[in-house]
Subunit: 166 residues, 2 copies
Amino acid sequence: MNINALTKLSYGMYVVCTKDEKQYCGCIANSLIQITAEPATIAVSINHNNYTNECIKKTKEFSICVLGENVNPLIIGTFGFRSARNFNKFENIKYEIFEGLPVCTDSCAYLLCKLIDKSETNTHTIFLSQVVQSEITKDDTPMTYAYYHNVIKGKSPKNAPTYIPQ
Amino acid sequence: MNINALTKLSYGMYVVCTKDEKQYCGCIANSLIQITAEPATIAVSINHNNYTNECIKKTKEFSICVLGENVNPLIIGTFGFRSARNFNKFENIKYEIFEGLPVCTDSCAYLLCKLIDKSETNTHTIFLSQVVQSEITKDDTPMTYAYYHNVIKGKSPKNAPTYIPQ
């Protein structure tokens, strides 16, 4: 078995945002797919260790920011490699609020999602959710995970479903 | 709500293959993600109308062929737009058998998967599966769904989760 074959799967780059009692929070996700067309539903896999996972279970709602190839790298650094448990990730990020949920201004599209159901695995939760609002916000090519790795030379944090120990 | 915002999500292009009592079958899928790293698990969404869906429920195993940008378009035409109910899709396609499952020779990687669990929605089944074998088989860039739409000018069949009526 060659575990690197799994790097041939394609993904986008997203920030999944929600909130706790005190502030907004979010994390980078790439394992996200549309499940049904009508109604529009999506599934996203988030590690148990991500604080965002815990918060989505409480709020039952979240936003998805679709990152484009020209996104400010600060967004990936802030949401991908730090924890919101003891840090306000939105402090230095431009964002707007839609239906009570934050959306990074520097996204090329966003979706607002309501939790329908969740499945647990040993490390990740799969959140099945209905898309209740969605807009295209910027003319940019959506960033793929391959682009992030090959062009931006980005790495996967340990919590990613696609993490491969080097 | 702008439903076209959902076209900003990124995917790969895959053939999901399994078999019935008489022959091998398969269909094109794009809604596929890795869920956990250890053990390696994936989730794939397949329409109830796809014969492959019915067969995976019986065999509880399937292969994933990762299509590259230089794949023979015959593969997409055969697996994406015809039904295996009354047609042997593998008749004109080169393939090999691994652990009893067919893999299109013209793929850039493949995964062999055992069904762990499934979730039903009104139109699609999400198959959660463990990857029990995986190999990289060809040096080609994995085809994204965006490449299929923008470069090959391909269309989405009605059974796709990402289908948008024109």
